[in-house]
Amino acid sequence: MEITLGKAIQARFQVIWPGFTLNVDLDLPGRGVTALFGHSGSGKTTLLRCLAGLERHSTGSLHFKGEVWQDSTRSIFRPTHQRSLGYVFQEASLFPHLSVRKNLEYGRKRVNSGHKVSLDHAVELLGIGHLLDRMPDRLSGGERQRVAIARALATSPELLLMDEPLAALDLKRKSEILPYLERLHDELDIPMFYVSHSPDEVARLADHVVLLAEGRVVAAGGLRETLARLDLPTAFTEDAGVVIEAVVADHDEAYHLTRLDFSGGSVVVARRQEALGRRLRFRVHARDVSLTLTRAAGTSISNLLPATVTDIADADTPAHVLVRLDAGGTPLIARITRRSLDHLDVAPGKSMWAQIKAVALLA
């Protein structure tokens, strides 16, 4: 299995606890958002804590952009406070005895040089300017988490680690913070590691994915390629689907529709507010894709794409299979019944039409 994402960060960790072993060997990219994805107990938080140096009992090595942060064979362990990183915990964990401003300044004034991110910029990015003089207990959950993210950013870290920063929040608060996280992604050149068990969050934010199960790396790679793989354990394929990045190409005012273009075709969705040219990500679940031999006529489904079958794999039930297709360079996955597979004589190399019943827009 190829698990090379770049050479900027090399992490080899072993942590052994009663009933749990983390054993990973990863080369990780030095830019963009890398999602550490997996079910609870898969070791994703432990891996993040190892990167931060918060797990003193881990053995292994960690090389970060040419610096050795840990090497057990040479007894090197750089303590957390000497690593240039920001860490956002699942609960905001603001210092309750300090105001928002003092919380933000706490880390910042302990960093001597190289303030790449100005305090004002961090405050503006997270939209917390009006909260600076409040005490943490006077903030909502979403506000607290935004302050925690800004506090981590204010130290101008070379690496930002986030442990399910949205997990403790309800849906409304989540949607309140996600746009801010997207801005971090777009505006800052800091590699981010983002722990999540939510496929939608991963699809929306990540550039790379590391899939973990029971303390081991199951798959790692670019977001689109990894999510479109068929050889992953069924635990992940029950929610199989692909992520497509598209551009807002046209608005149809008469029918209140918007056309999104991507390599390999376009889809039409209900009218979006975004301006022409804006990039949007959407997710197509395998269960929302059906296959026809010819371009269907007389159907209410308007999103039809020509595509070529590339491979076929077992799905989460014996009655279904997952069919991977290539639509002009964009991977698609369709979940169809085994009977349809035989009736339509689906095989690799065959040209077919994919009918997309629904797309989930991620922004």
């Binding site: 957390t80 860490y87 964990s93």
Partner: protein, 231 residues
Amino acid sequence: MFGEFHPALGNADWAAVWLTFRLASLVTVILMVVGTPIAWWLARTRSKWKGVVGAIVALPLVLPPTVLGFYLLVAMGPYGPVGQFTQWLGIGLLPFTFPGLVVASVFYSLPFVVQPVQNAFEAIGPRPLEVAATLRANPWDSFFTVVVPLAKSGFITAAILGFAHTVGEFGVVLMIGGNIPEKTRVVSVAIYDHVEALEYAEAHVLAGGMLLFSFLVLLALYSRKGASAWK
């Protein structure tokens, strides 16, 4: 039965009050310095010795003061290990001196300082320290800028209890310090003397003063409960 009432205290009684205040203040300062690392260790360690050390620290809570005083007297006496050590240092023997009283009081009041501070440390948990470390604070830095402010309430409780408990001791003082005016005669011993001499009026003034002092201390302590630690 109350005898003639003299509201004013004699010079000897004022000396006892002043001595008690000096003793309790000094002991409290020493206890905060000695007790904080012990409390920190007890709150954070996973060592198998935690139970043993915790039990030793708590012993004065249940032991009769005379037992503690007896062993301290033996240890600090001319043939005890502490006594041999102090003689070797050239400072003589500690029993029946003010420094001896200080040492004994530190042992006697130790749990009253260690336990509130330990509880406060345990309530903080490891998370704020991890946060501080990710914000570049070294362990000493985070102790003074995060742990101490968050444990402020525990420290205040510990200081009040340590001071008040030292003021209130009697048995250990009698065993270690005897009853030497201006050296080891504290208020509780002075009251005992007055009662033995049937000087009830003087005993009343001192005993009433102690009662009022203790009540005010506890009132202050219990009024604090529920109040936020950092406001």
